[in-house]
Subunit: 205 residues, 2 copies
Amino acid sequence: MTDAKMPRMTRIQQKNRDLIMDGALNVFSANGFRGATIDQIARSAGLSKPNVLYYFASKDDIHKTLLTELLDMWLAPMQQIDPAGDPMAEMLGYVAAKMRMSRDYPRESRLFAYEILQGAPHLTQILGGGLRDIVDRTVVVLQGWMVEGRLARTDPRHLIFSIWSMTQHYADFEIQVRAVLGSGRDPFAEGQEFLEQMYRKLLTP
Amino acid sequence: MTDAKMPRMTRIQQKNRDLIMDGALNVFSANGFRGATIDQIARSAGLSKPNVLYYFASKDDIHKTLLTELLDMWLAPMQQIDPAGDPMAEMLGYVAAKMRMSRDYPRESRLFAYEILQGAPHLTQILGGGLRDIVDRTVVVLQGWMVEGRLARTDPRHLIFSIWSMTQHYADFEIQVRAVLGSGRDPFAEGQEFLEQMYRKLLTP
DNA sequence: TGAATTATTGACCAAACGGTCAGGATCAAG
DNA sequence: CTTGATCCTGACCGTTTGGTCAATAATTCA
């Protein structure tokens, strides 16, 4: 149960697939799908192009595998909202967790940003399926809190959009943020402080 | 003073350059720079590929011209904030204007989103120059209002980031928004309502 | 009208790219 | 050590793409 993924996977397969996934994350997140080349991925992974294609059937295959492998990790923070916890603490915790993701995993953020911008050709099923279910479950929790008067009333779904957009903004548009703020500042720390203050005020009943 | 752009421009030049700009906006905003081909742009404009390259030196030239031509229009709403107006009305007006931009000009929003995601290879000067100045001027106005106690105190720059990210989210990630909301709803109207309520609460001193 | 300028295009080119393949290197197991 | 499976690569292929160019068509203006 520790590693029940592929039936059999040699150490070399394990290592090289990981290298390719990391290289692909570098290249796709920097250039988008169309802007990325298998050669770049191979170079970033330290492998030859044919060797990359020995492990993955096609560029499309690499991209799709990468997205699906990262999706769970990307959506994890939302699923960790505890319906039994303190509403304000849970929401501020979620915001902080998303902000940490933007700071520590900007490549993942940009990867998904490109995919959604593109029209989500590889995620359409997930968008209308799994993602929507996860959001719906969270919406139920939020609405419960609002009905109980422990959280200010707002549209829960648009509240979630606001958290997504603002936190991911610091990763996806980091260049713009840094250009506007100027050097010698910490966009993520400042952003975290701003968001905490903002949502505390917004969500206080 | 009505049209002091190019020294001389025939009607054909005027028309075809406009066609190309529109086609380029279609293609670049849907696929990003690397994902766009001159052939697609030509087809979208109703011209042949060599004819497109008769008016523009290269794909890069098309892209750069398009960005610079649209930049002013894109930044206009922020410059229309009136320092002499009512603070709350001015801010809510700015949010509403940005929201209208997302609804009516999603192609422009996505075009800039791609460019910033990419690392803004064509906008670096503008980001650190003109954009920063515009933001700085607005920041001065906001700080004035906050000092006067007519607007709640917050970091003005991060406040601006929040408006940018949330309003543009409805254009750039429209597919995701629609997938989560489900059909039969108006994301932009709902978003506008949410944002107005949110910023009214946030900015009330 | 006719010459000069502007506009348009089919054919073409070199580079980049996704992907293939035969054959050789490496490794694990008996 | 041997053998079979796994791993790796140089060379190659067809297609796509950005861009060129010579030749032709359309337009402008004296």
